[in-house]
């Protein structure tokens, strides 16, 4: 038995926070109330801290199989746990691509053998993510895939995207779309704008993303099948989704912490840690993304955790890999750039990182409720610290926030009733 005492609870159900104790028995929440502790049980004093549902990440890359030098399932799970996550959904762009049932089962089995947190595989929409032939969607769902995505690459052919959406409506498996018109992004390596002109780097125009966002909205509209847009990064994408939602299109979307915390100026000095796809955009895009998170246009925050090896980043800018290691800073970035700035409160934060991700993925969790699964995270939003990537559990130390002063840290993570992270350290 474990008791979390006296914390300020945001349970994902109630409209406002309340102070109470949470009693956990085995993997369930046994009781929420006052004075629940006794001497005979372990307890965590959460006085002055926030107690929230375990975070849920709908978009990460665990790199296994194929790229274990960047990350593997175990190191990724540890990193996620340290970041306060108790459930994560991993993308299919491994080698081989997760486009068949045995691979989905492999990921699930391997993750289960480690325990720690829950891992939900996302399978590919098309075979080998080639954007041509559909995968066996129903079989993938049966094997345990929570969604489908060719993330890392767009499905360029609109006809195939339409067919994929139509067909996915049968097994009712969500398609997550990576929106990028390759003909427009071409060999661009950063956002197209004043900074790319200053650095002499080839830019990626915002239209490369927005054209595909618009396309997928239209395809969702004509097929009547829901679609989820991955990592939106531009003002225009936010506006397109806002309009679509207002006319009832079944579209949801996510953004990643770096799109509300950082802009293209981070690339200055050819900083490969700031190289990511979609690229860090302009200040006005960052502001629009934050507005979208505030007004509900953007449904969730997903990390797009993309760990890379030093060898993939310590090269010429154009040759460097895209992406940044995201699990362990996600809460701090949200805290620093959304909570501390009073753009959102903790209740909205819990919607963005717990309640709605669970709904979109169709998985249990995301709330703290009696008899519910005991996935709980305790955070201290007031703690200030300087990011030290050497302390990351992830193999990927790639983040442009290294050395940044951030607010807010994850203290404890309880997954399935087990305390797996205590005082920021994995047990």
């Amino acid at each position: 038995m474990l008791c979390i005492k006296n914390g300020k609870i945001v349970d994902g159900v109630s409209k406002s926070p309340f102070i109470a104790d949470i009693l956990i028995k085995e993997d369930r929440i046994a009781e929420i109330g006052t004075n629940l502790s006794s001497d005979s049980i372990n307890y965590i004093d959460a006085t002055g801290k926030w107690v929230i549902p375990g975070l849920i990440d709908a978009h990460c890359h665990l790199r296994e199989p194929g790229f274990e030098h960047k990350e593997d399932i175990l190191s990724g799970m540890k990193s996620a746990a340290a970041g306060g996550f108790t459930s994560i959904a991993c993308m299919a762009n491994t080698d081989p691509v997760i486009d068949n049932a045995p691979l989905v089962e492999y990921i699930i089995k391997k993750a289960l053998s480690y325990g720690l947190i829950r891992v939900f595989p996302i399978a590919a929409v098309t075979k080998c993510q080639m954007g041509q032939e559909l995968t066996d969607m129903a079989e993938l769902k049966k094997a345990g895939a929570v969604a489908l995505s060719d993330d890392g690459k767009p499905i360029l052919n609109s006809g195939i995207m339409k067919t994929a959406l139509e067909y996915s409506g049968g097994p009712d498996l969500l398609i997550i779309s990576h929106c990028e018109d390759i003909a427009l992004s071409s060999d661009g390596v950063m956002n197209e704008g004043e900074m790319s002109t200053r650095l002499g780097l080839k830019g990626i125009n915002r239209a490369a993303e927005e054209i595909m966002v618009a396309r997928d909205i239209l395809l969702s509209e004509v097929t009547g099948v829901r679609v989820h847009i991955a990592h939106i990064s531009t003002k225009g994408s936010v506006e397109l989704i806002r309009q679509a939602k207002s006319r009832g299109v079944k579209v949801t979307c996510e953004t990643a912490p770096h799109y509300f915390s950082a802009d293209e100026r981070m690339v200055d000095g050819y900083n490969t840690d700031a190289k990511v796809n979609p690229p860090l955009r302009s200040v006005s895009d960052v502001l629009a993304v934050i507005d979208g998170l505030v007004d509900g246009t953007i449904d969730i925050i997903a990390t797009d955790h993309a760990p890379h090896h030093r060898d993939d980043k310590e090269v010429e800018f154009a040759l460097a890999a895209n992406g940044l290691s995201g699990f362990e800073l996600a809460f701090s970035l949200a805290c620093t750039y959304l909570l501390k700035t009073n753009r959102i409160n903790m209740v909205r934060f819990v919607e963005l990182m717990c309640v709605v991700p669970a709904k979109i993925l169709g998985i249990q969790g995301g709330t703290i409720e009696k008899n519910g699964r005991a996935d709980v995270t305790v955070v201290d939003p007031d703690k200030e610290y300087i990011v030290d990537v050497n302390k990351f559990y992830s193999k990927g130390k790639n983040t442009p926030f290294k050395g940044s002063l951030l607010n807010g840290s994850v203290l404890h993570t309880i997954s399935g009733g087990k305390l797996i992270v205590h005082n920021g350290k994995l047990i």
């Binding site: 004043e194 002109t197 010429e316 800018f317 154009a318």
Partner: protein, 308 residues
Amino acid sequence: MALKHKDFLGLRGVPGEEIDEILNTSELMKHILMQNHKKTPHLQGKSIVTLFYENSTRTRLSFELAGKYMSASASNVSASSSSVTKGETLLDTGKTIEMMGTDVLIMRHPLSGAPHHLAKHLKSSVINAGDGTNEHPTQALLDMFTIKSKKGKLHGVKVAIIGDVLHSRVARSNIWGLITMGADVRIAGPPTLLPVGLESLGVKVCRTIEEAVAGADVLMALRLQKERQQRGLIPSLREYAALYAINKKRVELAEKDVIIMHPGPMNRGVEISSDVADADNSEINEQVSNGVAVRMALLYLITRRRGQ
């Protein structure tokens, strides 16, 4: 005065005093270059290496001669750009060269920011001899030296830069340097070959070549980089020449004492007509000599800075 940094990677952010110092030193070097006996001991005991991942005649030779005239030991490494993606990393190559006792590594690379990447990890000085579509700072220095020699100043001089600015590292370096020195820079070129937000660098972007050339003291043609035009950014060389070539008629719109410049190598009949390139007011050949003088000055100042 000494240079502020270990490396010389670009003119972006280089203060005017530093540019002045290099240009003034270049003047002394030009005298040496014009002498019968072209040898000074300034770089005696120093080792310079050129590491070129792209083809080059004038820049590489110019650096090599600049070093040799000042008694440095100068060596060349030509790496084919394919070895960038295969085999050894740039960092490992750079370190290997450094460990052989190299004081100054002069580098050309097809990717923007490559010398910046190397410089961060080396103790030797790195001089950028052109990186991708970013900068070619010594070309801009020799261009500014040429302008200053002819016009007596840079401040207020009207310079029209014409052509493919998007892919031009020469243009970018010239813009940074000339703007810092207070010149009035106008740009014209096909919209597909002008980078976005160019105005934010402090230049005036003109709709037509005529507008840019009108009243200019200096006309600078940029090489149309045919090898970079595969994506069809312009319909044809013929149309490009019709709209943007610096020809006799367009030169007449400029100031009477206008000078003509081109970083070379030229595509005669494309960005510049032969009669303009070979006219009396063409400084194109003079630019080449000035290139050696400027590089001598830079090598001298950068090795002196290192207190060796």
